[in-house]
Symmetry: C2
Subunit: 500 residues, 2 copies
């Protein structure tokens, strides 16, 4: 049964291959061009930067785009077929695959199922254990509140009234007066982002994004057919480069902009109130919707910042028609809870709800009751306090371990969030990720957070381990880096660089 | 802030308007052409057959497609603007809207939130209250099983191992040997369908569908950019017209076919084992994936049929590579639970999981534990027995009430499922739905279940009410039908038919 999810064009594939080459600053021995090309494609598939079952360009087109001979491409495709990374059928073309029996493509971002980790240290997803006893207490409270809901059909396209009210009250308490009609409960922040993209930026429209930005949302937008317009983040934690934002919003006229202003994923930057005000003004002037993802907003790790966080971006949008806010319980509380939400004008909320019947119908009722119970019982604050303590401990532990074992990796320690964005000392983050996979540490490489192969020289490290495990993770990453530096990352017997 | 979700082309809008006209067999007074056109568009928006914020064609194009004067279209658009159903901006075009303060567009399919029903009898969504005490027991069991999971990050892209195993065992017990590697847990059947469409039928590809078919899935496929190829169901409960299926699969060469073989939504038809075998053979011969939605499979309402149901469609696919099965707890158990699943080859499952990180990440853990607990405790069978009894009582009650109050409505009583597909005696189902909305009964019209405006002469009635409420629902529908027959459905003061 033939299947493919999408086609990868020759210029796109050439760009992705080219970005690998750029970052390959190591001094390994040369290998044949076809072999280097095959390895490059294999790496892109294993990393998930080309989807499984994606159609690859015809040999002639790729040869032209790469400026190599068609023989080189044909030999590379043949090598990929032999290794099980490509299937071809006469007349139908070639599409990517993963050899039977292999693990799933290690995108390094979707989580390794906990039961499958074995001895692998999983630095893939930025998610922590639940802040017990609050998860259990919340579900107990929800169960006590369930009976009247069990007598209904259970389908609440806008979300449970009790939760819409609790979320509205929380925004109001944070300085953004909000009515329940301005809230839609979604199935996670992903459900919120998908609904907003459908409404605000239909296929072919432009979306301006922080660069780097949250990988899963970038991919969701690509899947939705958006054209991503990256706006580079300033170095370190300086965050948003307002002249660049104004320039991009004016020149590219995107329909929407997506920004993680609170403990940005992956850099950890936190927008100042001035940056917030200026971002809103720039978006309003350009007629773009400013979508602000607050998934990390509750994760201030420095106590002073937790006590006095900056006001929400929506507070700088008096008319209320420019900013659309996305929130989620999955980062603040637990990823096993799939509840997110949108705050916007009642009109936008109505449009989002109207399109919901053919998206996901509604969100789980008991989970909504659990969040509503937590917020009513002040359990939310208690739970995130536990989570903050844990993330802070992990951050400090990881930072110390990386500084010790990878002294040439550069990063700025963020004041909140769940991730460290590390420059990998001139080595390819993709190759470190691949080598790490074999050495027992899973880590997502930089390009997952970029557009068109950017950030090859980075990896993202989440605050999910501490103590000896953090040390062990850093040790394994250091071993992976040594392997890459020696040019031996791909196959121990055939170190190589790309020479096509 | 300008926004639109999609564009409605002139030929498409002309077709939708034309289908309304065809079914308007009533003898109302004539109204001006512009007014009739405006009313037609308004009805399409209110029904959700044109989305809110959809761009309408330019006046000239629509005039050409409808073969009316441009003045007529201009006057119709002006009337729509006055009523708040259209917004226009010079140079940017016109897009649909809903007047401020109005209820959401009454698609008649997304559920009315229980708190908002008031005196409205909601026959919109085919969903029943939870089969207590089993919902509560399942959540109590899940809560007891939660602690080890709360210590993980909670993100299980394939689903919890315990639930994958329980679902595999259930298929094996139904005669289709299945390994856990063949199961992916999804967020409802909608999540399953969305993932399968992304993989099997990318944008622009054809999908063959039962005609009529489940409205939300048809709309999901349209949103995903699929080209729907309808295959007419045979009359009554005869179900699948195999020569038509073979012919369509051969001629249109769709990438996949979507079939509800067990208590088809909306007709209630049940495929015989011969039909199942032949459908699989036809799909295999045409190289199409056969996606079988079993959401209703547990809802045999006749006890003999419940005791001895036909074997699953997958049982007629020995190689296992043609059929992809979708299941869900939302119809069998409760719509407030958002758990569905896919059964396919391990390869297809791996591809679906790989794409999940940028769709919904994972499904709620506690809900998965609840379903696994129910299946381990035989609670699943007990719960669906309760649900069957309730649906059977509702069916019999509704059938009696409709026969009494709407004697010229035609239907065949199905042996299972949750819906009655009723021919509305030559009146427009859309207009009955609109009139019903004002008379206190919400019901989805036929065209929601069809492609390009088909089934204007039908409504779908779900088995969700009984006794005096069923009688009241039928009485209100009869009043709505009388209103439509008198030509007064749209505005009491201006009965009309479309005369352009």
């Amino acid at each position: 049964m033939t299947q493919w999810t999408s086609a990868v064009g020759a210029p796109q594939l050439a760009r992705l291959i080219g970005s690998q080459r750029t970052a390959d600053g190591n001094g390994g021995r040369r290998v044949p061009a076809y072999r280097a090309l095959a390895d490059g494609v294999r790496l892109l598939v294993l990393e998930g930067r080309i989807p499984v079952a994606a159609r690859l360009p015809a040999e002639r087109e790729l040869a032209a785009a790469l400026a190599v001979s068609r023989t080189t491409v044909a030999a590379a495709y043949e090598a990929l077929r032999t290794d099980g990374f490509l299937e071809s059928r006469r007349g139908a073309g070639s599409w990517t695959s993963v050899p039977a029996g292999n693990p799933l493509p290690t995108r390094g971002l979707e989580p390794l199922p906990p039961e499958a980790t074995g001895t692998m240290i999983d630095l893939g997803c930025a998610a922590l254990p639940a802040p017990e006893p609050w998860l259990t207490r919340a579900f107990q409270g929800a169960l006590a509140d369930l009976p009247p809901y069990a007598h209904t059909h259970g389908d609440y396209p806008a979300g449970l009234p009790a939760l819409r009210q609790a979320l509205a009250d929380r925004y109001t308490a944070r300085g953004v007066p909000t009515m329940p009609e301005q809230i839609m409960v979604t199935t996670g922040a992903m459900g919120a982002a998908a609904a907003i993209c459908r409404l605000m930026a239909p296929r072919g429209e432009r979306i301006a994004v922080d660069h780097p930005s949250y990988a899963n949302i970038l991919q969701l937008m690509r899947d939705a057919g958006a054209r991503l317009v990256p706006v580079a983040m300033a170095d370190g934690l300086a965050g948003w480069d307002l002249p660049a934002w104004r320039q991009t919003l004016r020149a590219a006229a995107p329909r929407m902009a997506y920004v993680v202003a609170d403990f940005h994923n992956p850099t950890g930057a936190l927008a100042t109130e001035d940056q917030r005000r200026d971002l809103v003004a720039a978006a309003r002037a350009a007629g773009a919707a400013l979508v602000v993802d607050e998934s990390m907003a509750d994760l201030a790790l420095d106590p002073a910042l937790a006590a006095e966080p900056p006001r929400p971006v929506a507070a700088f949008d008096p008319g209320g028609s420019t900013v659309i806010t996305v929130g989620s319980a999955s980062k603040a509380l637990w990823a096993g809870l799939r509840i997110g939400w949108v705050r916007a004008t009642p009109d936008v909320i109505r449009s989002l709800i109207a399109a919901r019947a053919h998206a996901d119908l509604g969100s789980p009722v008991l989970e909504q009751l659990a969040i509503a119970w937590l917020m009513a019982a002040d359990g939310w604050e208690e739970a995130i306090a536990i989570r903050r303590d844990r993330a802070r401990e992990n951050r400090d532990s990881l930072v110390a371990a990386v500084r010790e074992h990878l002294p040439d990796w550069e990063f700025t320690v963020p004041h909140g969030g769940l991730t460290l964005w590390a420059r990998t000392g001139g080595l390819s983050g993709s190759r470190i990720a691949e080598a790490g996979e074999r050495l027992g540490v899973r880590v997502p490489s930089g390009p997952r957070f970029g557009v068109d192969g950017a950030f090859e020289g980075y990896v993202r490290l989440p605050f999910t381990v501490a103590g000896p495990v953090a040390t062990q993770a850093a040790t394994r990453l250091a071993a992976a880096a040594r392997l890459v530096a020696s040019g031996a990352a791909i196959e121990a017997e055939a170190p190589r660089t790309f020479v096509a």
